[in-house]
């Protein structure tokens, strides 16, 4: 008999002393090494949400459309009407991508898609949200090339289009890049598979890839700060095989359609132990599992390795007894492993055997979120920088000095890594497989994907400006939700629900936790306003580096980045709205209010070099009102294009519409009383650029008056391929295109 592990071992596995005591109490004895490993991964932040769940519970979860609410299933489930539902979710793979960008990102894509198809939903669209460090460093180039290729190679072979996303750069992401992957799938209501296990005697199968030593302890690894020692954890990064995933997708959907599946769950973080415990706890049954039956990639794997392995492309399936042959035949057809490794038992304990010997015996309930897993109330404290940022005085920044500097700033922004064209990235993704991507020839503020065979279209976007959230977590996160909703509305859709990916630093730092709490509050407020409940998502803490010779602090954490993935719905095509200029002679208008605000703008941050300023001007009620105006203009057929004013401000928005439409713009001078830089480059929220056919002008303005909306005539779309302000030529379209398109290839090849 091996000696039982000590508290010291528990600590090495990432458990706290009080957690070790709690485990002893639950088991009524000291845990053996397998059991200790089980608790260490299941109680890691990644699986247990122990430091976030109390706040996550405060988020709005309800709407008449919700079929599965946050935390109930692998992903949220939203009713689309006519018997169809959409399962959608976003998830991070930040830590693996920091060490092994290609596999880290690839397996992130694989994992999120399994979350969708394990529910019986066929994925129809993928998006991603990426953050990298300084594009000029070799490390960032290496990470970015690997991440983009990893996402592309996996998603392209898997055969689901990648239809949208976002990429930002800032020094704060140098050590800790963020890789958040989003997927949305469609399932018929009533045919949804559940992650549950019940029915004594029902067989338990493992299907898909064989189990190897990759990714052991990955969940625990994702729950600590990144340090020089992290590269020693390379085996904690999993390896992806999109070909297996494609076969697993088809086989899984066939098996679910057979009607003989009791429950099914993909194996992601914490592998077999996670699926067996979560399914058993939900079904209030136990399970006996014979670990030696699990197909492995290498001989002599130890029980804890088999239990914790995060090998990809695997599922746990509980089948109705007597129908094993049906399931086996389907996996045989797809040439996939399908092996019975256990059965459902009465009681609520999990018994794991290896060659007839009991190697772990734990109550399922004690392992899982919502059960025995710990939940902590963390302390939080306002960081000193917050008040400093608020002291920003616009008067200390000089306005742009005449047309020359206006031109200079325009060039700076159009070519800036944060604002330039993302073609280098998205052209490496198959965006059109599935023949459902409605904006393959004409971009919209959000991606529009048809639900095949219906008139329904999903309107999808991922948004977050971490700089705003750092400046003011509550306002910044509300802006992230507002911008997502604005993108959906500008595309002609109706915002329906969100999923979130909460990327933060170390939650044990009170200043970091303050950012988290603020973001949750802001998200709640905005989601209530837009009637977009939170259907689930993912928390990624520890996106934090430890500086040499100094302790970790809020300043060595990434920008708090609560990425919002929003689902909108567009019924029919009538109201589809794109962002491109359409016809020379069309009138350009700004909907919303121009204000003297430069706070947290790219212009202020990177052109003026002022890093400390509050979040941009934002009023949630006003934002909502602007959305209603845009909806009315679209449904009234009064506008030809709509593009929200976001990062880079008004000038960048106009330039993007011009570039995509291959038409120029003749713009009026900034209105009297406003700074030129604030008017053209400020990032105050709640503004949209629209174009109007001349024949519609009277009707358009009358409607705006009726709606009591703020608006401003900006100028005119021109055939002449150039952007002018007043009498000054700012850029020809050719120059703008070169600046805009050249940046990423210039850095990345």
């Amino acid at each position: 008999m091996e000696a039982l592990p000590t508290l010291e071992t528990a600590r090495k596995l990432g458990l706290l002393a009080e957690e070790y005591d709690q485990i002893c109490q639950i088991l009524g004895r000291q845990p053996n090494f397998n059991e200790l490993s089980i608790y260490s991964v299941m109680w890691s932040e990644h699986c247990s949400y122990k430091n976030s769940i109390l706040w996550l519970k405060t988020l709005p979860k309800d709407s008449p459309r919700m079929l599965a609410k946050a935390g109930e299933e692998n992903a949220g489930l939203v009713d689309l009407g006519d018997g169809l539902a959409c399962a959608f979710k976003i998830e991070s793979h930040n830590h693996p991508s920091a060490l092994e960008p290609y596999q880290g990102a690839a397996t992130g894509v694989g994992g999120i898609n399994r979350d969708i198809f394990t529910m019986g939903a066929r994925p129809i669209a993928q998006l991603n949200s990426l953050r990298f460090g300084n594009l000029a460093t070799d490390r960032t180039k290496w990470i970015m090339r690997g991440v983009v290729k990893g996402i592309g190679d996996y998603g392209n072979a898997f055969g689901v289009p990648t239809v949208g996303g976002e990429v930002y750069f800032d020094d704060c992401y140098e050590i800790n890049p963020l890789v958040n992957a989003f997927s949305a799938g469609i399932v018929e209501v009533g045919k949804v598979a559940r992650a549950i296990s019940y029915g004594v005697g029902n067989p338990v199968f493992i299907v898909g890839s064989a189990t190897g030593k990759d990714g052991i302890g990955g969940a625990a690894f994702a729950s600590e700060d990144i340090s020089e020692k992290s590269t020693e954890k390379l085996p904690a990064v999993q390896v992806g095989d999109p070909f297996q995933e494609k076969l697993l997708l088809e086989a899984t959907l066939e098996v679910i359609a057979s009607g003989h599946v009791v429950g099914i769950q993909d194996m992601g973080a914490a592998g077999i132990i996670c699926s067996t415990s979560e399914m058993s706890a939900k079904g209030e049954h136990g399970m006996v599992v014979w670990l030696d039956k699990v197909p492995t990639r290498q001989p002599n794997m130890k029980p804890f390795e088999i239990l914790l392995s995060e090998s990809q492309e695997r599922m746990l399936v509980v089948v109705e007894k007597g129908h094993e042959a049906v399931i086996q035949a389907i996996f045989d057809k797809w040439d996939l492993n399908c092996v019975q490794i256990g059965e459902v038992t009465a009681g609520e304990r999990l018994h794991f055997y290896m060659h007839g010997q009991l190697v772990a015996d734990v109550p399922a309930e004690s392992l899982v979120l919502g059960g025995g897993a710990p939940q902590y109330q963390r302390e939080f404290k306002e960081p000193a920088y917050y008040q400093e940022f608020k002291k920003f005085d616009l008067a200390t920044v000089p306005d742009v000095n005449g047309p020359d500097e206006l031109r200079q700033v325009a060039r700076h922004l159009l070519a800036h890594p944060n604002l330039c064209s993302r073609a280098w990235v998205y052209e490496q993704y198959d965006s059109m497989v599935g023949t459902a991507n409605v904006n393959a020839t004409e971009p919209c503020d959000a991606a529009i994907v048809n639900v095949k065979g219906t008139n329904k279209n999903l309107v999808l976007t991922v948004d977050c400006n971490g700089r705003y959230v750092k400046a003011d977590p509550e306002v910044g996160c509300a802006i992230a939700v507002a911008e997502a909703a604005r993108n959906v509305v500008c595309s002609g859709g109706e915002p329906v629900a969100i999923t979130n990916n909460l990327n933060f630093g170390n939650p044990y730092l009170p200043e970091v936790y303050w950012q988290f709490v603020g973001a949750i509050k802001g998200m709640s407020r905005a989601c209530l306003k837009f009637s977009t409940p939170v259907t689930g998502g993912n928390v990624s803490f520890y996106n934090q580096s430890v500086p040499k010779n100094a302790p970790a602090s809020v300043e060595s954490a990434v920008f708090p980045t609560p990425t919002i993935g929003m689902l909108g719905l567009l019924e029919g095509w009538e109201n589809k709205m794109s962002l491109t200029f359409k016809q020379p002679g069309d009138l350009i208008y700004l909907i919303g209010r121009p204000v003297n605000d430069l706070a947290s703008s790219e212009y202020l941050y990177s052109y003026r070099g002022v890093k400390a300023s509050p979040a941009p001007a934002f009023d949630l009620d006003y934002e909502y009102a602007v959305h209603q105006v845009i909806k009315a203009l679209i449904s009234g057929k009064l506008i030809r294009s709509a593009h929200d004013v976001a990062d880079g401000g008004l000038f960048v928005a106009v330039a993007e519409s011009a570039l995509h439409g291959q038409l120029g713009g003749q713009l009026n001078l900034a209105p009297a009383g406003l700074r030129h830089d604030a008017f053209w480059f400020g990032e105050a929220q709640s503004r949209v650029v629209v174009t109007v056919a001349p024949a519609q002008q009277a009707g358009f303005e009358a409607r705006l008056a009726q709606l009591n909306a703020d608006w401003l005539a900006l100028g005119q779309v021109t055939a002449q391929p150039q952007l002018t302000i007043g009498h000054d030529l700012i850029l020809t379209l050719a120059e703008a295109a070169e600046l805009h398109l050249g940046t990423l290839p210039g850095y990345l090849g």
Binding site: K149, G152, D153, N156, A157, F158, G159, D241, P242, F243, Q244, K246, L247, W334, D335, A423, Y426, E427, Q428, Y429, D430, S431, M432, V433, G434, T435, A436, N437, V438, N439, A440, T441, E442, N450, K452, G453, W573
Partner: protein, 233 residues
């Protein structure tokens, strides 16, 4: 005209092909499973895009050994029409049904975007009915799309009028800038000497519906219906 769409493990444009030929064009379609050995009386055989068997070795290298391919080769040799798109084109070259090979894109990156194609062959059934002065906007999506053939083969392709499409710009000019992957002579698709086996990298089925904002691929697919199988060969 009955279409058989072959499903290899890893095919991912099979459903798109069935949808376009079946739903949009009203043709009878059937999926042919890679482990099967007969073609179920299909007039046309289509090898769709995707990553057959993962394409880890070399694109199309394993798929050509699938049981179904014996039947496809026999069908082609008997003069039956076969179309391969993207991975399907790669498989047809691996199987020796089409000349040349598809190499890694010159910039070593996967590329997905709309490109323009100019129909070339005046005699091939796929391109004969098309407007040869026009540039058709059709998307590509591949990592291994650089068409290569030795000079002698290229000369034969030209001589026999076997080049289906060349990459061009929006105005129909065949320029080096319009070549997205480094293909020899900007070649995007070819047919065999008998003109019953067709292969192309671009995806006409992804540009066959006005709802997607692009129906330029539809005339290409409509051309398939004009080919009378009995007359081929």
């Amino acid at each position: 005209m009955k279409f058989g769409i072959v499903v290899f493990p890893g095919s991912n444009c099979d459903d798109d092909m069935v949808y376009t030929l079946g739903q949009l064009m009203g043709q009878p379609t059937v999926k042919l499973w890679h482990k099967d050995t007969h073609l179920q009386g299909c007039d046309w055989v289509v090898l769709p895009g995707g990553f057959s068997y993962g394409d880890y070795l070399r694109s199309g290298a394993i798929a050509r050994f699938s049981p179904i391919m014996e039947a496809v080769v026999a069908h082609a040799q008997a003069g039956g029409p076969v179309l391969g798109i993207c991975n399907g084109f790669q498989i047809l070259t691996e199987a020796g049904l089409l000349p040349g090979a598809l190499l890694r894109n010159l910039n070593r990156k996967y590329v997905c975007r709309n490109v323009y194609l100019k129909p070339v062959s005046g005699r091939a059934a796929l391109t004969a009915p098309l407007d040869h002065q026009r540039a058709y906007q059709i998307p590509i999506a591949h990592g291994d799309g650089r068409y290569y053939a030795p000079p002698k083969t290229l000369a034969q392709l030209n001589h026999n009028d076997q080049i289906l499409f060349k990459y061009c710009d929006a105005q129909g000019q065949i320029t080096p800038e319009a070549n997205p992957n480094g293909s020899a002579e900007n070649i995007a698709g070819v047919c065999n000497a008998a003109k019953n086996v067709f292969g192309m990298m671009p995806h006409p089925e992804r540009a066959a519906s006005p709802l997607l904002g692009n129906a330029d691929g539809r005339p290409l697919l409509d051309a398939l219906l004009r080919l009378q199988p009995a007359l081929v060969g």
